[in-house]
């Protein structure tokens, strides 16, 4: 019998991860810096002060360099759903394709039309038209983020659809349920506001460098004035939306939450790990090895975050695999959680019921088809478990998820203090003389990037093995191509994107060194 090469799944995952990580180096900067540049140009429009124009144009130039690589790395992601995840494209394309198409129609044209005006329209259109173009470019980028995040959120929490056994795919039943899913809203607001942090950190780091070099003092101070406030706003909103994101994860993807916290044994009044070191000798969830070398917890906070109740029970990895703990169903009925084996049995039943349904339909036996359809519908919430061979596959990479989550949170908290400090000192006009703060500011950008990428690693590694939560694991979603082909394209992308990144950084550094007077 023909089987899929397991390394094909791994290479396909690796390729998607690689391209997504690269793409995410450029997108948050576009989203964050775009708003800052728009605000700067708005100051210019309102005051007529040429210095604001000079400042806006300087940052706009850097925005353009970054934007280009964002486009280059973005195109591949859209097409990879087809090239590398072809089964996925059919199985959920009826729902997933729509946000992608809407993104193209509503957002990409807005961006691509007005970015040309933003760069080449200074002497060709009115001040007002130009300002509108700048804002529309960043609004386009943000709308684009909305639609792709709606699509991503739907993978984490599939809702508003039903499975059609005749077409063998999921079909959309409610567009509003897909668009306004609570996961989508949390994801969008958290991702966009966290991108504002990256944009602000970028402006502050470069401005701090100017202050250290005693160059472009006015540009640096004015830029910091905007970036510090915007960054603080972004950080506070990201903290708030991060909390609602975590709540959604707890409700919809409890395994991801358990991995984020390194929680193996579920607890009532569970504490949130503030800092912790995982035990490297723990190899499997069921080996009985203590998961931590050490940790410091805030008592009850995980329960509060996960269930909005400080005394509530938060299941750990073992509970989620073994089941048996009290759990409230989607419809609000109290019940007992199923074990992984029970879910896998139900999944197998669902897959068999689909097979029998198809055979019955082919044979023209409608009553048998109906029986199998009912069986399929009953077990469909566990459909993807039918493709899981070993229950251990259901546990994501705990160390990676745990550390990235905590690094993200710690850096996020640090940024609240950082932006307050920078804003306060800049307002007091003492920032330029505080060298240690300026040196600290140079770390802002790398930290913001680490924080932002960590967020995505938590979201995507923590949900493995699911491409669509509970319904489609990665091994069911791939295209049938040779692992060698994917390996080859992986290497090509890795080389090409690395070259583009180095070249982007080199151009950026040259432009920054030259300052606003040395554009080009």
């Amino acid at each position: 019998m023909e089987t899929l090469d397991p390394s094909l799944v791994d290479w396909s995952r690796a390729q998607f991860a690689l391209t997504a990580i690269y793409h995410w180096l450029f997108v948050p900067l576009t989203l964050g810096l775009g708003v800052i540049v728009s605000v700067m140009e708005t100051y210019y429009y309102k005051t007529g002060d040429e210095e604001w124009k000079r400042i806006a144009k300087f940052w706009m130039k850097l925005f353009g360099i970054n934007f280009a690589v964002g486009i280059a790395t973005g195109i591949i992601l859209e097409f990879e759903f087809g090239t590398n995840w072809s089964n996925y494209s059919w199985f959920v394309g009826d729902i997933f394709g729509a946000p992608l198409a809407i993104e193209g129609i509503m957002a990409f044209f807005l961006e691509s039309t007005f970015i040309a005006v933003m760069f080449f329209g200074w002497n060709k259109v009115s001040k007002k038209f130009h300002l509108a173009a700048t804002w529309l470019t960043v609004i386009g980028a943000t709308i684009s983020a909305l639609w792709i995040l709606v699509a991503n959120a739907w993978m984490q929490f599939p809702d508003g659809m039903h499975f059609n056994p005749d077409t063998v795919r999921n079909e959309m039943a409610s567009f509003w349920a897909v668009l306004f899913s609570p996961v989508a809203m949390s994801k969008f607001t958290h991702t966009v506001t966290s991108s504002w942090i990256v944009g602000s950190a970028f402006v502050i780091t470069i401005s701090a460098w100017f202050l250290l070099k005693k160059r472009e003092l006015q540009l640096a101070k004015r830029s910091i004035k905007i970036a510090a406030v915007f960054g603080l706003l972004g950080t506070l909103l990201a903290a708030y939306t991060g909390d609602s994101s975590a709540y959604q994860v707890a409700q919809k993807q409890p395994m991801k939450l358990a991995a984020m916290e390194g929680l193996y044994q579920g607890q009532n009044k569970a504490g949130l790990i503030a800092v912790g070191l995982l035990n490297p000798s723990k190899k499997s969830y069921d080996d009985g090895v203590n998961p931590f070398v050490f940790n410091i917890k805030v008592p009850g906070l995980l329960s509060l975050m996960a269930n909005r109740n400080i005394n509530s029970f938060v299941p750990g990895v073992n509970d989620l695999i073994d089941g048996g703990y009290p759990k409230v169903s989607k419809s609000g009925e109290p019940g007992i959680a199923l074990s992984a084996e029970q879910k896998m049995e139900k999944g197998t039943l669902a897959v068999l019921a689909l097979k029998d349904y198809k055979l019955a339909r082919k044979a023209g036996n409608d009553s048998l088809a109906k029986v199998n359809q009912a069986k399929l519908e009953e077990n469909f919430p566990y459909f993807g478990y039918g493709y899981i061979k070993d229950k251990k596959e259901l546990v994501p990479n705990v160390p990676l998820t745990f550390y990235t989550f905590h690094v993200m949170v710690i850096i996020g908290m640090y940024f609240i203090l950082f932006f307050i400090l920078i804003w306060w000192m800049n307002n007091k006009n003492t920032l330029h003389s505080q060298k240690w703060v300026l040196w600290l500011s140079l770390l802002g950008l790398p930290l913001a990037y680490i924080c932002s990428e960590c967020g995505w690693i938590v979201a995507e590694v923590g949900r493995q093995p699911w491409v669509i939560q509970d319904i489609m694991p990665a091994n069911m979603a791939v295209s049938q191509i040779s692992a060698g082909s994917v390996q080859t394209t992986f290497i090509l992308f890795a080389v090409l994107f690395t070259v583009l990144l180095i070249s982007e950084l080199s151009i950026m550094i040259k432009q920054i060194r030259k300052g606003p007077e040395g554009l080009n």
């Binding site: 023909e2 973005g74 195109i75 590398n84 072809s86 080449f120 959309m172 982007e504």
Partner: protein, 380 residues
């Protein structure tokens, strides 16, 4: 309005996006001409800057074309992209290198040097041939199987499988595919030459563009007419509307044209507009608006060609391995509900076209010249 209406409507929209994409490949055509028409650094800078103000439209149209195809005909997305892996990857690589080249080429510290980025643009320009090759497979067929029952085979659940190891590169071995590929490339160059004539105020560039226009038009006509006649008389992939059985029918695409007179009219008007734009430019040295006639004509012609590939009970993505695996607009489309939702969204398209027109006019109001290139900090 029933399910079939929406399937036809979405095939129309996807075809329209495809047609607009072919028009906008004047950017690629222009990139393939940078060494031929631009003899000095300044001339190449002018060429690249006039193209650089439009490249994102082509790029965005390609991405939207992909997204719209995914949303409306997901089985095509999974079958073609997952199967013809190398053909699509080659095309995507051509576009990745394009996206940075405009922005990076003249920037200091760009690592690879101006020449490399210009070569990237040239590769992307010639690479547009692949679009034609892939689109030609809509008429010549590919080697794949679609079996939805595979999903219940947990060891190998992939529904669409490609039946040769070249994964799309075999399309390059088919003469008819290559002919359309070359036709698209030469058309893109024709459009680019007309675009240069319209947007660049430089005597040398004007003269070389007019000279190139004649040669590229001749090559385009030879390739396109051979492809067209061959396709119209060749066997096509017909679908029985009642049984959905696919069969080979002689001169199917010619019949489609004759049975859909409005489409035939659009096709003829398109061809006339394409030729008028070119000939009038060649005859009248002061006429510079040829790009609009040839551009709109291109949209009409390509639209009509794609409509005869999918409408009138035709399998638009035929399988030569198993005729019954061929994709039709009814067996590969999204659900009735999704097509309806998407149709509401599609009402935004005229608004999008309106603001594109406004912005285009604002930026292209004045021709590019050497003075502007020498005195501008916002240039590529």
């Amino acid at each position: 309005m029933d399910y079939s209406f929406y399937q036809h409507y979405w095939w129309f929209l996807v075809s329209l996006l495809g047609a607009l994409l072919v028009f906008l490949t004047f950017v690629q055509g222009g990139q393939s001409l940078i060494y031929q028409i631009g003899k000095s650094d300044l001339e190449r800078t002018m060429l690249i800057n006039t193209l650089g103000r439009k490249w994102e439209f082509t790029f965005t149209t390609l991405v939207t074309f992909g997204g719209a195809f995914f949303a409306s005909f997901p089985l095509f997305y999974s079958t073609s992209f997952g199967g013809a892996y190398w053909a699509w990857m080659a095309l995507l690589f051509c576009f990745i290198i394009q996206a940075v080249s405009y922005e990076f080429r003249s920037k200091k510290g760009n690592l690879l040097g101006k020449k490399t980025f210009d070569i990237f643009l040239f590769i992307n320009g010639v690479g547009i041939l692949l679009v034609g090759v892939v689109v030609a497979t809509f008429f010549t067929g590919s080697e794949f199987l679609v079996n939805k029952a595979n999903l219940t085979n947990t060891a190998m659940p992939v529904i669409s499988t490609w039946e040769n190891s070249l994964h799309g590169l075999e399309a390059l071995l088919n003469v008819r595919n290559i002919l359309l590929g070359l036709a698209v490339l030469f058309l893109a160059r024709v459009l680019a030459e007309l675009y240069f004539i319209q947007t660049i105020n430089d005597a040398n560039i004007q003269a070389r563009s007019r000279k190139g226009l004649l040669v590229d038009t001749a090559l385009f006509l030879v390739c396109f007419l051979t492809f067209l006649i061959w396709t119209l008389v060749a066997k096509g992939y017909a679908v029985d509307p009642d049984t959905q059985v696919v069969s080979l029918v002689s001169a199917k695409y010619l019949h489609n044209l004759l049975e859909m007179p409005i489409v035939a009219l659009v096709f003829v008007l398109g061809v006339v507009a394409v030729l008028f734009g070119i000939l009038w430019t060649l005859i009248k040295p002061k006429f510079i608006q040829g790009i609009w006639f040839t551009g709109i004509g291109t949209v009409a012609t390509v639209l009509a060609l794609l409509l005869i590939a999918g409408w009138n009970n035709t399998a638009y993505y035929p399988s030569n391995t198993d005729l019954q695996s061929s994709l039709t607009i009814s067996n590969s489309s999204s659900s009735f509900f999704t097509l309806k939702v998407m149709s509401i969204v599609s009402l935004l398209i005229p608004f999008v076209l309106w603001y594109i027109y406004k912005a285009w006019k604002a930026i292209n109001g004045k021709q590019i010249d050497a003075a502007e290139m020498n005195d501008n900090d916002m240039k590529y």
